[in-house]
């Protein structure tokens, strides 16, 4: 074809809207975040910008120090708890939610009466706003909510079950207090249940599509060779849908790292650094305390984590895929 300058101009014009959006909103902010994370400033014009990187007021140092410099008080900007919460959430999502979803997908995908109807129902919560789901479960966990009502109907003393309501800072698992208080600390598990409830249908749908895509003759061959159903699942279906499992794992992990809506709805009111996820810190630094430097540092940590985990997961799945093939 002719490569005149008008042709090149046309190529550029077609790319222009996407390039503009992409570079200004996705690419440039990464560099801006890295730069801003080296400064401390609270005026949006940046007029009070002070360079703090590598010094004792370094933003990353602040985020990762558990106690204030005098060693007495807890640092409310500490990101460690939030990160561990996100990691636990990611692990639970990957190792509890995905196997369950796989089970559903296998049950449905191999042909069962009403499979589409089941799927349609399981997928429904995915579409409901997480804000609504957070509030709904907030009500379920309420001291006077249905969970405690059910427990007391079964004769369990409900007074010890705070579930997610703030109870004298004993909420985080590694603070040690939760052991003393019995079930005083339940917030982490309690917040995982809605995640499980909402997204299991999503993963089940993806995997179901995968199971449906397994060629019928492959399964036939397996059956003729005397495979049991379990062997069919393990040796044929699961290896075959590995690309979909990879997507599911990436979604589960990066989704957990980025999670915000549910936690903000359930715990945002407490404004308690003990029960938070990284995005809530980002929100607080941006909207409540105007500590843009710290916020940018949080964003950089999130970007790096998302990239690293996506890479790692791709790597893991690539190696396993090679072995199978």
């Amino acid at each position: 074809m002719n490569k005149s300058w008008t042709y090149r101009l046309n190529v550029l014009l077609f790319l222009l809207p996407a390039l503009l959006l992409f570079c200004t909103i996705l690419i440039a902010p990464i560099f801006l975040s890295v730069r801003d994370s080296m400064y401390s400033f609270s005026n949006f014009t940046g007029s009070d910008r002070v360079f703090v990187a590598f010094g004792e007021n370094d933003n990353y140092l602040t985020l990762f120090s558990r106690y204030l410099k005098d060693g007495s008080t807890l640092n409310t900007k500490y990101i460690g708890n939030a990160l561990v919460t996100a990691f636990i959430l990611a692990a639970l999502s990957t190792f509890v939610q995905l196997p369950l979803a796989m089970g559903i997908a296998l049950c449905l995908g191999k042909g069962i009466r009403g499979e589409r109807a089941y799927l349609t129902i399981f997928f429904m919560p995915v579409l409901i706003s997480t804000v609504i789901i957070g509030q709904l479960w907030f009500k379920i966990y309420d001291p006077k909510g249905i969970l405690n009502a059910a427990l007391s109907a079964m004769g369990v003393d409900k007074s010890i079950f705070g579930w997610i309501q703030s109870a004298s800072g004993s909420k985080w698992p590694f603070t040690g207090q939760w052991l003393a208080k019995g079930f005083g600390y339940t917030a982490l598990i309690a917040s995982f249940i809605p995640v499980l409830w909402q997204y299991i249908g999503y993963h089940a749908l993806l995997m179901y599509a995968g199971v449906k895509g397994v060629p019928a003759d492959l399964l036939e061959a397996g059956r003729l060779d005397g495979c049991t159903e379990g062997q069919l699942n393990r040796l044929i279906i699961i290896p075959y849908i590995k690309p979909i499992l990879r997507v599911s794992v990436i979604f589960a992990v990066t989704g957990s790292l980025k999670s915000f809506d549910l936690f903000q709805t359930m715990f945002g009111r407490d404004n308690d650094p003990a029960v938070s996820v990284p995005s809530m810190l980002l929100y607080r630094f941006t909207s409540l305390s105007n500590e843009y430097g710290l916020g940018s540092a949080t964003a950089v940590i999130l970007i790096v984590l998302c990239f690293v985990f996506a890479l790692l997961i791709n790597l893991i799945f690539r190696n396993r895929g090679d072995k199978v093939a």
Binding site: F22, I128, V131, L136, I146, A299, C306
Partner: protein, 320 residues
């Protein structure tokens, strides 16, 4: 697709069908338990939206006619309401300003979808139908967007928009409907849907035969003519998939909406209901009504379009 698998099974299954029956019933039972787990919270939400707080808490008292004393009724969590408190609905509708919230969310979503579709169709056309050096590389560059979390843009874009005054602007592009400051959501949402948009479009555009381009070219169409007259009309199936995907990305988005929008007249649905919950923490009936009102339209649309919506979700994920 599903029937093909179903029909083949009994043939090779050596009449295994009848032997499997009891386990099938077990599977159905387990699935039905899951269905109950799925539906019950929603039923509970709907049921407490029609009750008063005293009824839920068991603080309700009625006069016992025989003894002449007031008797406390038990808490009613699970059952149907003793008296249906329909009033919760108009009150929630009014105090949360639900109509306006829906309108705002709808406007933001529609324009985000439009922008995403235009940008990704055009870019995809340039990268798959036009011949130039580096088009493969450019595609890879756009695919980076799949891994970049939306959080990356929050502060930098916020600072810039605040500086140019977009966040506090009172300009109304369409009076009472589209505000200039809604652009602060539309543009980032579109930017973050773009990578998936291009991924989906590449799949769909690849299915359009290249012969059509050549025929149009011989008929005297330029690159723009081919795009508008040949490619666009054939991309209508992609519009629904891409539109549904983008819609689901922005309809429920909270982080950007809550940071960028401070004027309650411009709130989107998630921000608005978040505020509403904050104000009415103890009035269960009203909160329940708010929850139901905010959920119902999505669920109704889902019931009507469930297959399309599921396809929209899968299109991105399976290819990605």
């Amino acid at each position: 697709m599903s029937t093909a698998v179903n029909e083949k099974r009994p043939l090779g299954g050596k009449r295994k069908h009848s032997a499997i029956k009891p386990s099938r019933i077990l599977i159905h039972l387990m699935l039905l338990v899951l269905v109950v787990v799925n539906i019950f919270p929603l039923y509970w939400m709907a049921s407490f939206s029609l009750k008063t707080t005293p009824e839920i808490m068991g603080q309700e008292k009625v006069l016992n006619e025989e003894t002449g004393k007031y008797v406390r009724l038990p808490a009613n969590h699970v059952g149907l309401p003793r008296h249906w408190e329909w009033n919760n609905y108009p009150e929630a509708m009014k105090t949360a300003n639900m109509g306006k919230l829906f309108l705002n969310s709808l406007i933001v979503s529609v324009f985000t979808i439009l922008l995403t579709i235009i940008a990704s169709f055009m870019a995809t056309y340039a990268m798959t139908r036009l011949v130039w050096k580096g088009r493969k590389l450019m595609n890879k560059f756009f695919m980076l967007g799949l891994t970049i979390p939306i959080h990356a843009a929050l502060i930098p874009v916020y600072l810039i928009l605040k500086r140019i005054g977009l966040l506090t602007s009172t300009v109304e592009i369409i009076p009472g409907v589209l505000y200039l400051s809604h652009l602060s959501l539309i543009i980032p949402y579109a930017a973050f849907s773009l990578a998936m948009g291009i991924l989906i479009s590449v799949g769909f555009m690849g299915d359009i035969p290249y012969d059509l381009d050549e025929a149009a070219f011989l008929d005297g169409c330029g690159v723009w003519g081919i795009f508008f007259r040949v490619i666009l009309p054939l991309m209508t199936p992609a519009i629904s998939t891409l539109g549904i995907y983008t819609f689901l990305q922005c309809w429920n988005e909270l982080l950007f909406a809550t940071v960028y929008i401070s004027d309650s007249a411009k709130f989107t649905l998630p921000v608005g209901i978040q505020q509403f919950f904050g104000q009415y923490t103890t009035d269960w009936g009203k909160i329940g009504a708010g929850l139901v009102i905010a959920t119902a339209p999505t669920l109704i649309v889902y019931v009507l379009l469930s297959k399309k919506i599921q396809a929209g979700f899968m299109a991105g994920a399976v290819k990605g």
